[in-house]
């Protein structure tokens, strides 16, 4: 089993939820390696932010994209080389603000990649401003009087955009993260995981989440309406229980399959027959 630890010095703050994501992705990948996954064919794509440093700490191929562009880069990598396993790690600012349009289109297209969003509900690296998932009234560095916007619910966006795999994890719960990461990577199509990753320095939500999270049980993940109901249970703003786990999964054709040279529409024999017919007229 290959060590997935890279030598780069870790600069995340003590208590940061990013450690849990790092600690869960390593065994998840190692377990898949035991089952035959070639780790040299895994590519990690990160955004710009604290989360992005995961590319430095994981001993696999990686690509630092510019802020907001994890998904288009990951899509390009997957399309150009469909044999690769592509895993994106994005921030909430990265993916729900600057690059939100890409999230909608990745779900709509059902590209066969995994996206793990480190949703700490702040811009961590730029030191604590509000993001699209910060709650109403959030007092961050750019909103000292409290934000006047309500947060968006990323799971609801992905579901309504045609997402084929949706889950939520929490950085205080490595076992569940390991399971979700594994399921997401194995899913054929766009796998989306929103991870409530606590930013210990700028938005410490451990107590808040600990009192409210629960794991989904007896939930029918094949049912769109059951998924929507669970997704709407908590809107990232109001008082509610917060469900964790797999909300929804279904099998749909992936984007790559729509490219004829990746899954030919016309058989080579037929193409040859057409060509020789045409040539007979030259």
């Amino acid at each position: 089993m290959r060590s997935l630890s890279a030598p780069a010095k870790n600069t995340w703050c003590p208590g940061c939820g990013n450690f849990a994501i790092l600690s869960a992705i390593k065994p998840a990948l190692n377990a898949l390696e035991e089952e035959g996954l070639d780790l040299d064919r895994v590519v990690v794509v990160s955004g710009i932010g604290c989360h992005a440093k995961i590319a430095d700490y994981l001993n696999v191929n990686s690509f630092y994209s510019i802020h907001g562009r994890v998904l288009p880069v990951a899509t390009g990598i997957k399309l150009a080389n469909p044999d690769l396993t592509v895993i994106g790690f994005a921030g909430d600012g990265d993916c729900y603000a600057e690059g939100l349009d890409h999230l909608i289109f990745a779900a709509k297209r059902n590209v066969d990649i995994t996206l793990i969003v480190h949703n700490n509900r702040v811009y961590g690296l730029t030191t604590g401003q509000y993001t699209p998932t910060s709650p109403y009234g959030f007092k961050g560095r750019s909103t000292p009087g409290g934000t006047v916007e309500r947060p968006l619910n990323p799971l609801e966006i992905v579901l309504s955009s045609g997402g084929s795999f949706l889950g939520r994890g929490y950085s205080h719960g490595i076992e569940l993260l390991k399971t979700l990461f594994r399921q997401a990577i194995l899913h054929k199509g766009f796998a989306f995981l929103d991870v409530l990753q606590v930013c210990a320095t700028f938005y410490n939500m451990y107590n808040y989440y600990n009192q409210r999270v629960y794991e989904l049980k007896d939930h029918d993940a094949s049912s769109y309406s059951a998924a929507l109901k669970k997704i709407r249970e908590w809107d990232y703003n109001s008082e509610a229980q917060i469900a964790l786990g797999l909300f929804y999964q279904r099998v749909l054709p992936t984007y790559e399959q729509s490219f004829s040279h990746l899954s030919p529409l016309v058989s080579p024999e037929r193409e040859e027959a057409i060509r020789s017919t045409l040539e007979s007229y030259i």
């Binding site: 730029t126 560095r141 750019s142 909103t143 009087g145």
Partner: protein, 392 residues
């Protein structure tokens, strides 16, 4: 009032004194403290403005386009990747002749990813139609802010203005700064009262389609407004001096230029080091002087021809390059000299990229190389200073 204050906070205070109606921005290092401080001023009730914390730089500038066409005085700030993301809106807003003001906290553009200072970001936007002013120190960045509005909103000009200040070096430094007095700013900068706005009582269309029969004329009028802005920039600096008593030159400024054989031409915060360096080289009898660019766009061609006419050699130092050609200020300057009678050698140095310090030793080295060129020793006329060959 003089205060020891962080550069970003001093600029935010200056923006407050200009009484903007709408501010829109997205956080990015090293601009963040400017807008955070503005949001604090709003929260404290000291600044009555509509502050939008948007989802991207593209949204930031686009929302100001909307606010400006209804007659609001607008402000934003960004840098580097953020400025690059605004690209389409830079051209859009200047073509629409909207007098926006934006502070650019100059930073390198990736890849490779880097958060430190150079001026590639704003220099790369030199053709976007925005007026570009470069500050030497925090005080000048502060004082340029009301000047920028005065130039931008002049009914004869109506063009957006970037106030460029070196990231970290000026945004994060604590310096003694004279903060602007509100009553003086009010007498310097009248309220913005545009003649043409979106108005339901008198409907108009902004941003309409223009076919080939008129497009050139619109572009020409924009070009012509920048050329005419040269005088307004000079006037804005002089008017400012009358009220505040501080002056930094108009389009350019000079230091020990009178009898300078070797003339350094540059812009931004490196000038502080260069002034010190000139003092010590002058003491050694080296005839070196400085021409500082305050306005890079419009480009002060005539002022430069005048300031440089007696120099034997010119050394252009700048924190950018034009990949595929030489650097930007260098080629602009050479173009300004070609049809004049001036034929001294002009040398270009790209230095200080991605936050590398430009030290006194570096400046002396560039002066030495230029001095040899003055004496006819042919050397490369453009170079990246102090390349680490072992990394190439």
């Amino acid at each position: 009032m003089m205060k020891v204050i962080e550069g970003s906070h001093a600029v935010a205070h200056a923006v407050m004194c200009c009484r903007p109606d709408v501010i829109s921005a997205y956080p990015i290092t090293p601009q963040t403290h400017i807008v955070e401080h503005l949001s604090q001023l709003v929260a404290d009730g000291k600044l009555n403005t509509e502050f939008l914390t948007v989802d991207s730089e593209f949204s930031a500038l686009s929302s100001l386009v909307g606010a400006s066409v209804v007659g609001a005085r607008c402000y934003s700030s960004t840098t580097s990747q953020g400025l690059a993301l605004m690209w389409e809106v830079l051209y859009n807003s200047s073509g629409l002749r909207l007098p926006l003001v934006m502070t650019v906290a100059n930073r390198a553009l990736g890849a490779p990813l880097n958060i430190w200072n150079d001026q590639q970001d704003s220099v790369g936007a030199r053709d976007s139609g925005w007026i570009q002013l470069y500050a030497e120190n925090v005080q000048e960045a502060v004082d340029m802010t009301p000047q920028a509005y005065k130039i931008a909103e002049d009914p004869d000009i109506l063009l957006p203005v970037m106030v460029c200040m070196d990231g970290f070096i000026l945004t994060h430094v604590y310096e003694p700064v004279y903060l602007l007095e509100q009553d003086k700013v009010d007498s310097y900068l009248p309220p913005y009262r545009p003649a043409v706005v979106l108005d339901t009582a008198n409907p108009k269309t902004f941003g309409a389609f223009v076919d080939p029969s008129k497009f050139t004329e619109y572009r020409y009028m924009q070009w012509d407004a920048q050329i005419r802005a040269k005088q307004k920039i000079v006037d804005a600096a002089l008017d400012f001096q009358k009220i505040f008593g501080r002056y930094y030159g108009g389009l350019i400024d000079t230091y020990h230029a009178e009898d300078a054989e070797i003339m350094i031409v540059t812009m931004g915060s490196v000038i502080g080091t260069i002034r010190d360096c000139i003092d010590s080289m002058r003491a050694e009898g080296i005839k070196v002087g400085l021409t500082k660019i305050r306005s890079y766009r419009p480009f002060p061609a005539e002022a430069l021809q005048k300031a440089l006419k007696d120099a034997s050699v010119i050394a252009v130092i700048e924190k950018d390059t034009t990949v595929g050609n030489q650097s930007a200020l260098l080629t602009d300057l050479k173009a300004a000299l070609y049809n004049s009678k001036l034929r001294m050698p002009v040398l270009g140095f790209t230095a200080g990229l991605g936050g590398r310090d430009i030290t006194v030793t570096d400046i002396r080295k560039m002066v030495e190389i230029s001095s040899r060129a003055k004496d006819g020793v042919a050397e490369s006329d453009y170079q990246f200073l102090d390349l680490k060959k072992e990394l190439l």
